[in-house]
Point group: C2
Chain length 595, copies 2
């Protein structure tokens, strides 16, 4: 089977010049209301409401029929009852419509009668070469035309992910969670019953589109398993495909047949197909997004050997367990490395992998260890625990009854004795107000030196090393980073002794891109994954091109999927030994790409 | 073995009248600084700093030695190097100290020499009857004395959970995540190497303390497995014990030996011990807290039969899979129930379990279905998807480029045509300003009627039913609920057409306790679990006594643990057939208890 040119085929769907919503209405309690309202939102071309009974919808002139519209219509969204759709589709052919999205339900999923109706719609559309999404779907998003033809308002921004979902709710949850994490989508399609455009066609399209870096799919069943495999095998050599496929159990298989009308098939067969095609399998909606974030923000590891760095023994223990369960090797460290760590950590450190400095107060050790481990040939990747998400720290300071007092004591003591500390605030305020990057940059070294002397062991060489690290972090993350921005205010609050004024949450939030920049520097230098975890639960976020996972458990799963994909590419002869660039599948946010 | 009176034995530890911190210092870069600072925070009695070189710590008179302190000292925190501790412990005996917490590390976990030191400390303490936590721990929290003797400031509030953790970092993460979810702890102990007080003694204590409703433990190894079992079997008949025990793999076993110095033992033996003792096993720190929240906010189900109600087919499919994997039965619905649902749902509904109204715009159906299902004898519990956490909705409205326009359209259309809508804001503002509960209550019915007519099908009887439901929700959740509070402002914004002013996030947040009150009413009426899930990822919160889980996967796991515990009690003869009250282990927040 030859490769279909889906970029050309689906062009009118993803880049229409005009849209009509059939069933658009002023009645807020109908899906035609929210679909029209959502489609209007951000799309640059005309969006025509079509309604047989209304003259005007949300201030836009309404048309009785699609053929009444004066200008051309590229795309049509159907939000009218299923039985009317075959006839309206005929009118769309007459009008010269090129693509459609059928949100309406009541087709194959309701049984024989619905299937008949669906076949009529397909026949009608075929006559005019109209390609369509659905039926029984929740709509779609195309970043290239800023079109959100959704059933209801849903937050989505442009980004490197493409996602086709046979479930509108699961799809919507992933899109909205992605938005909350700070990541966007190039395409998101709730594909419904796939009466016309098949899941494998969307995947082919995503594979051909250079804007797409990683492909997600939620699928309940396939119409043409053979074709799906053929496409998936081709595409997964170009970019990772991550699939969530329910139906492990009879309970789910029954639910699938009433939901999408698909036959879910035998789960083991899907498992074999996915393995054959290099498709990465997720078990939950959260994993779908976790794995996507892994591929987007990490290079592929050369092998399964992992080192764990942890701020606490129990974190490391749980992570070691999770790594081993996922088939990763928590490797023994060479004697030489143990000796090197003996020199920088207190005697109570763990003396092995996981590397646990056991509450070392010299923060420098934690920051040296990753680089030292990444230098070793036997280490393919590291998991750096508890440092990915600094905003977790802020909760220490804002509990109901505790925290601010202790934190205030600490900050006063930390900063109070520093030389020139009180003058720094004025200099920084002046530099930021001037907006002069050179002036701001000149302040980097004194700030770094100050922190270096505080956070290091007190030894001169440690302070110098710390200063250099901090300088590189500040420079790499950009002089305008929010961390630096929060500084003058912080210094003023501390100098005035008014700890209540201190916005600790925003200081720690500001630390995140700053810390992220250090991690990206390690990745760029070593071309190995550095997967980080945050301190506590809560939705992780993409920060300065880096994304921290909520636990060692998630980090291990993500890392194991990177290994799985690398091994697939290798088996397929795509991992070209020395030629292979582990950064090939690596994506970072625009702010980092600009460097 | 007879039951130890741990309430009396551990009284000086949990309710000391005075505290001394040995190693308290003004040097912020030492643990003695943050431990002293944290111990000061909220504790009512005196907290004495002891430091051989400082005269004054954070404004408090410091003492060279514990014996220099004039008044009595009940509790001592040790934050000095391990080798000094045996001698200082002797002085504590001399001083008449009753309890201690040894934060310092450098004992059994570093090997033979450390073990010897540890034995010396134990011998010294025994002479004076001093019971102590640690060594090598991160401190502890006692709600009854508001004492947070932690190594660093950590947010924690009083509540129904007691937690003993052999890992300070994992423990801290759970405590902080609990705080973020809105739940508190009666006791939290980072127990370290358990040289004196053993894990089973803490568990015995938690079992004897009526303030404790659920017990959590993270454990790496046990010193006396037989005693642990004996205690756990006794306690788990009184309240649930949930354990996180790593060490499934060699990688973790090695990590454990360098962390706590414990022998992790063979994992299968632990599994058998836990089953024998009715201990609920968690696999991650998140699960530890999820299961605790499940036990605290749900009654025990009578069996494994579950019905799922979902706003979308794919959610239901994934949840059905998860239920089946967890050993729950997604039962077939009786023909009669199917017929009843046929009458309230659109023809496209799923016609089975999971119950999916498939995008029904008449919200009433979703609210009727749980009650109808809970009425059935064959249903032991329900999972109600996507309704637990309304704050997820708000993200629909505040995306970067979309949402507010569509949401504004919808709100205007929804409220614009309602009779008397514009007058309501003034009435509500006046009622809230008066603070008169009677006045506020009088407004409930007009508001309910308004929403009832909007959200129902339009049929008179539907509106009436909806109105009654809403009235009960508003009354049950208290007339001062934040949902009602946000109303006048919302109405003003909509009336003035100024949608940008609309604080949609807080409106949806306000809906949560309101919705929670409905769920609690169902639970109270049917004495069956109603486990809910939210729409998207993100840390779930305890709201008005109800807690929603992030996904069907989590909900199924939680429900399966409730079943596991019920079956354990039954096998132990504690589930006394007709006499058994499924609410026995149910806890609700103070605000709900006051009813």
């Amino acid at each position: 089977m030859s490769e279909q040119d889906t970029i050309k085929d689906l062009e009118p769907l993803f880049n229409p010049k005009s849209v009509a919503v059939i069933g658009a209405t002023n009645n807020w309690n109908k899906w035609g209301f929210s679909t029209f309202s959502s489609s209007l939102d951000g799309f640059k071309g005309p969006v025509y409401p079509v309604n047989i009974r209304e003259d005007n919808v949300l201030g836009h002139k309404a048309y009785k029929k699609i053929t009444d519209i004066e200008g051309p219509v590229d795309l049509v969204a159907f939000v009218i009852p299923a039985p009317y759709i075959p006839a309206v589709m005929e009118e769309c052919v007459e009008k010269g419509v090129k693509a459609g999205v059928i949100i309406a339900a009541g087709f194959q999923e309701i049984g024989e009668e619905g299937k008949k109706l669906q076949d009529e719609v397909v026949r009608a559309a075929k006559k005019g070469g109209i390609r369509f999404i659905g039926p029984n779907c929740m709509g779609y998003w195309s970043a290239s035309s800023n079109l959100r033809a959704f059933m209801f308002p849903m937050p989505v921004r442009p980004g490197p992910i493409a996602f086709v979902s046979q479930g509108g709710n699961v799809g919507g949850a992933v899109v909205m969670s992605g938005h909350a994490r700070g990541i966007g989508f190039h395409r998101y399609i709730s594909c419904g019953a796939t009466a016309d455009i098949q899941i494998e066609e969307y995947i082919e399209h995503f594979g051909q589109d250079p804007e797409v870096k990683v492909i997600l799919t939620y699928l309940e069943g396939l119409n043409d398993g053979r074709k799906f495999m053929e496409v998936a095998k081709r595409v997964s050599l170009k970019k990772p495909i991550i699939a969530l496929k329910p139906g492990k159990t009879n309970a789910a298989a029954k639910a699938i047949s009433s939901h999408s009308g698909s036959l879910s098939g035998i789960d083991k067969i899907y498992d074999a197909v996915f393995r054959e095609c290099g498709i990465i399998r997720a078990n939950t909606a959260e994993e779908l997004l976790d794995y996507a974030m892994g591929f987007l923000t990490q290079p592929l590891p050369g092998g399964r050997n992992v080192a764990i760095i942890t701020p606490g023994g129990s974190y490391g223990v749980l992570c070691a367990d999770a790594c081993a369960v996922e088939g990763l090797n928590v490797v023994d460290l060479p004697e030489k490395t143990i000796e090197e760590f003996n020199a920088i950590f207190p005697p109570r450190w763990s003396h092995g992998n996981p590397v646990d400095p056991a509450g070392d107060r010299n923060f420098l050790g934690y920051l040296r260890a990753p680089d030292m481990l990444l230098n070793l040939d036997i280490i393919d990747a590291i998991i750096f625990m508890g440092f990915g998400s600094f905003s977790g720290f802020s909760s220490m300071m804002d509990s109901d009854s505790s925290g601010i007092g202790s934190a205030g004591n600490m900050f006063s003591s930390m900063f109070g004795s520093l030389k020139g500390f009180d003058k720094l605030a004025d200099q920084m305020t002046a530099a930021f107000e001037s907006g002069d990057p050179a002036k701001i940059k000149r302040l980097i070294r004194p700030i770094s030196t100050m922190f270096g002397s505080m956070m290091g062991s007190g030894r001169k060489e440690d302070s110098e090393e710390f200063t250099n690290l901090l300088t590189s972090m500040i420079e790499f993350s950009g002089s305008g980073a929010s961390f630096l921005n929060s500084f003058p205010k912080m210094i003023k609050s501390i100098s005035s002794g008014n700890m209540e004024e201190l916005d600790i949450a925003s200081i720690f939030e500001g630390l995140e891109p700053f810390m992220g920049s250090l991690i990206i520097q390690w990745i760029l230098k070593h071309k190995k994954p550095v997967v980080t975890t945050s301190f506590t639960e809560g939705a992780p976020t993409l920060s300065g091109g880096h994304h921290a996972f909520p636990s060692g458990d998630t980090a291990s799963k993500v890392l194991s999927k990177l290994v799985y994909y690398k091994e697939y590419l290798e088996a397929e002869g795509h991992y070209k030994d020395k030629e292979f660039d582990p950064m090939e599948f690596w994506w970072v946010s625009d702010s980092m790409n600009k460097k």
